[in-house]
Symmetry: C2
């Protein structure tokens, strides 16, 4: 019986801002804490989607790759999906309408929650962070120009999290959603979608287990500029 | 073997700001997650110190009471003390100098850490939050007038945590320290001290396990005003 009430997060979004993109947790260790989730890889090399315990990379070339257990990640969030979670039928929503439904109808506000939406989409629009080279630039520079991809008539799954505004900086406040197609050929960080019809799930997560890379000297000594942090996050992540 | 790398926190400081002082976790459940820590009780009824697995209340009458397992708490932090943690001899420091030592000499910056200091003090100055009645006022009103107590020539233990600035609001950023005397007769939230000599310990905590009261409707529906949050926290907690 998996523990389905905890959001495990490695690293913080704030540490990506000054360019701490070096991986500090392996994909193999990550999936010990969850079978579903999102993240990024060492050197900001694309977008990660964890689904059914498998780790996938949406790469800047527009392709999707299986991520080996040894791949390192600077920032990732996972949880164990509760198979008994009720599913809610939804249709005709775009991404903003889906986010509003989560907040208005599902009352997401002060607690963390895992979000899934599986269905048929007439359009899915994603972007993928491009791989960076050492010395790493700040996140806003690294993400100023990101490849974007659009797919029409695709079935797949939206995976991500809702976090309260209080945790902006530690993580992405509001909804942070990735997508992967059922054929595992198309994936990325969601910019927009148009749902034909599907089933949504909201799994409330009363516990946040935040794991910081305290054995990494760069992390321990980094100067995190808190002023303007949320502006930088919103610029890079939305 | 206890797990000595995790800071368990129930509730958030931000939720105390609008007056959510109702207890949502029992002291008995709290000590399942740690033998050392700090917190407050239902109705903001004093200051809590957890030491050697025992839970104590510093009450507004200046006395210290043992807290029953059934007592409820809206906000508390605990960890399991690592008995193998090196102790460092210190002498002649006041509270500001001790905090500076933690930050400058121990390099506390981006990670959570548990702090202890056991020794002989020529002076210890504490304050104790006074018990509130329903309907609870905001934290700044509740803590505008707090009883303060000073003891001279006392041996005891400083217990508390360091948290990075990034987590201000979720918890108290910087050092948040309570005190309890060896005879368990004097305790409270530390305002200042003058150490004669003692031994300090800094236990790095790579993991934060944040547990939110998601089964509490008041919590789930509360409006948390983030603007001015840190000003209100600094006014109430320092």
């Amino acid at each position: 019986m998996k523990e389905t009430t905890t959001l495990f997060q490695h690293g913080t979004l704030a540490l990506l801002i000054p360019g701490l993109f070096a991986g500090t947790l392996s994909a193999g260790d990550l999936v010990k804490h969850g079978d579903t989730g999102i993240g990024t890889l060492d050197a900001l090399n694309g977008e990660v989607i964890v689904i059914d315990g498998q780790v996938y990379q949406a790469a800047e070339d527009g392709h999707v790759y299986s991520v080996p257990d040894t791949a390192m990640m600077p920032f990732a969030s996972v949880h164990f999906s509760d198979i008994n979670q009720p599913k809610i039928s939804l249709e005709g929503l775009n991404q903003d309408q889906f986010s509003n439904w989560l907040i208005e109808d599902r009352h997401l506000k002060n607690a963390f929650a895992a979000i899934t939406l599986h269905g048929q989409f007439s359009m899915v629009h994603v972007r993928v962070a491009p791989k960076q080279t050492v010395p790493f630039p700040p996140l806003t520079a690294a993400t100023a120009h990101q490849p974007e991809f659009t797919r029409e008539q695709v079935s797949g799954t939206v995976v991500g999290y809702f976090a309260p505004d209080l945790y902006a900086g530690a993580t992405v406040a509001g909804c942070h959603l990735h997508f992967i197609s059922d054929d595992r050929q198309f994936a990325g960080h969601l910019l927009d979608f148009q749902l034909i019809g599907g089933e949504g799930g909201v799994q409330l997560l009363p516990n946040l287990l935040l794991h910081l890379p305290t054995d990494n000297a760069t992390f321990m000594n980094a100067d995190i500029e808190l002023n303007g942090l949320n502006d930088a996050i919103n610029q890079a992540e939305h």
